[in-house]
Amino acid sequence: MRKPRSSLALLMIAAALGASAQAAERYGIGRPATPAEIAGWNIDIGRDGSNLPPGNGSVERGRVVFSEQCAACHGAEGQGGVGDRLTGGQGTLATAKPVRTVGSYWPYAPTLFDYIRRAMPQNAPQSLSDEDVYAASAYVLHLNGLVPADAVLDAKTLAAIRMPNRDAFVTDPRPDVKNR
């Protein structure tokens, strides 16, 4: 790989490679994946909320889920402990002591559903119902002042939340540092 300056050229080469990949002879290895198999494993939620499941969860229910499933590591109010701090920190990112939390840092709300469902709670991932994942997501967003106490989140309302730090991400400009 050369300097990133030539990354456009690389992309063009890659596109050409992609085209040739489609034309190549097949080995005949593997078997078809069925739609049911794919549906069971495809748990990715897009940043736009795509692939979010049916159902919903309230901040009120989330308060219960959080205290039972999350508070032991993340603190009763999401202030952090063995697990990451989840709340606060808005307005600190450009300071000497930035605090990166769901509220201050995460760019997309649907990622919260994706991550809680696939990886939390740490001792029993993929054990929460979709409703409880919506509820826990709603409660964490409420703790960050991003949804009101009476909010109920579903695929549409979760995807509609605009996270404060959404537009602060930039692409890789390296090499950015010169040895003099």
Partner: protein
């Protein structure tokens, strides 16, 4: 297995090390006296029986029989060469352990010492029950068994993997080479080019990214640009000739030469071809780099050129003035190492080190330079230059642009200070 004889040797060895250490401390503080003389005498007495002109004890009886170790282990005298795992981590399920770089020679990391980073512990996966699913923007979604994966044309290549946070930019800085950059290892990997597997499914024209997911308790997910998948990415099942260790993704992992470690998804179970990245938690809230102005860099894939002197390095002791070889490792995610320069005068003058062949792309390169130490305090350091002519920067230069809260992708020069007593320590600590 069980070798009383070996255990006895180990006990004797550790006693000797203790005595030597005691002698060194006493000698260093110039106390001397009767006590230290006795210690030195005892040390000399216990060692002398195995030294010339005597016949060593291990020649006077047969050694351990064939089959004592069905899977070989290092000498009992190397018990201290283990992964460098902090005893004060907040938790050990999402955590990392380091390779003891300063104890190793060459460029290949032994499998038992390969660095570890997991986000949901190390799963124990039955390969007969493991499947790789390939779906998304493909003509034919497919499921592969491990036997299927091994039927593809195979390939072996030597590449490093380095964690992106190796080390962070803020103090306290580590004492040893392992503390500083031990989230780095290098192995010979065997598997199949991802390109071949993708061809089986047939990429559709909007295919721009592939989302890779692990079968661990974190179901770790990262998005990889399609050009990398078609360039040199591999699905790997063996490491240094044997099947992957569980800590390295058994039975199947992704290998993305030169990309930050966490993207080389372990325990790989799913590849989804997409038009845009997943924007998963691990590529938004983690593994993004905060800049002083509050913006954050995302999708910073390649690990830039870097090097470190592993001998002499922090925590070691030079035996005295005279000849010492300076050696270390250099690497770049962007290609081959072109040159490594060494300074033995605090960074004023630099001279070229010898590079050990073969110099491989996106692999560790071993460098060496003969050196005579005059016994004066000195600061030594190395800097790598890769085939793009990029020069490894100083920590100050990095922080001046990126700030101290950047966290990942720190490829700074790390100088070592050697005191007049020969003690080596981190010159930036």
């Amino acid at each position: 297995m069980s070798e009383p004889a070996a255990d006895k040797r180990a006990r004797k060895a550790s006693r000797r090390h203790f005595l030597q250490a005691s002698a060194a401390i006493v000698g260093g503080s110039s106390i001397g006296g009767l006590g230290s003389t006795n210690v030195l005498a005892e040390q000399a007495g216990s060692d002398a029986a195995n030294l010339p002109p005597n016949v060593p004890e291990w020649m006077k009886a047969p050694g351990d029989p064939m089959g004592s170790q069905p899977y070989g282990a290092p000498s009992v005298y190397e018990k201290g060469v283990v992964k460098n795992i902090s005893k004060s981590l907040p938790q050990y399920i999402s955590a990392s352990g380091r390779t003891p770089l300063q104890e190793l020679d060459g460029i290949i990391t032994p499998n038992g010492l390969f660095y570890e980073r997991h986000h949901g512990g190390v799963p124990s996966i039955d390969p007969a029950q493991h499947r790789l699913m390939l779906h998304g923007l493909v003509d034919r979604p497919l499921v592969f068994t491990m036997d299927d994966i091994r039927r593809f044309p195979s390939e072996s290549r030597i590449h490093f993997i380095e964690c992106s946070g190796n080390p962070v930019y803020t103090k306290p800085y580590g004492k040893t080479a392992s503390d500083l950059v031990g989230l780095l290892s290098c192995a010979e990997w065997t598997g199949v080019r991802l390109k071949h597997v993708l061809e089986e499914a047939g990429l559709q024209k909007d295919a721009k990214w592939i989302v890779a997911e692990g079968a661990d308790a974190a179901a770790l997910t990262r998005s990889i640009p399609i050009e990398k998948c078609l360039e040199d990415a591999m699905l790997v099942y063996s490491q240094n000739g044997e099947r992957l260790r569980p800590q390295q993704g058994y039975p199947l992992r992704l290998l993305l030469p030169g990309f930050e470690g966490n993207m080389n998804v372990k325990w790989l179970r799913r590849l989804k071809v997409t038009a845009e990245p997943a924007y998963s938690r691990e590529e938004t809230s983690k593994y993004t780099d905060l800049m002083p102005d509050g913006t954050s860099r995302e999708f910073t894939f390649y690990m830039e050129a870097k090097s470190i002197i592993t001998r002499p390095s922090g925590g070691q002791l030079l035996s005295g003035p005279g000849f010492h070889e300076i050696t270390g490792i250099a690497w770049s995610g962007r290609g081959r190492i072109k040159r490594v320069e060494i300074s033995v005068d605090g960074g004023k003058n630099w001279q070229n080190a010898q590079l050990q062949e073969p110099v491989l792309t996106r692999a560790l390169t071993r460098f060496r330079m003969p050196w005579r130490w005059d016994g004066e305090e000195v600061v030594i350091q190395s800097r790598a230059i890769d085939e793009t002519d990029y020069v490894q920067p100083t920590l100050a230069e990095l922080i001046a642009i990126r700030g101290a809260n950047h966290f990942y992708h720190n490829n700074a020069i790390w100088p070592w200070r050697i005191s007049a007593l020969g003690e080596v320590s981190n010159a930036q600590a």
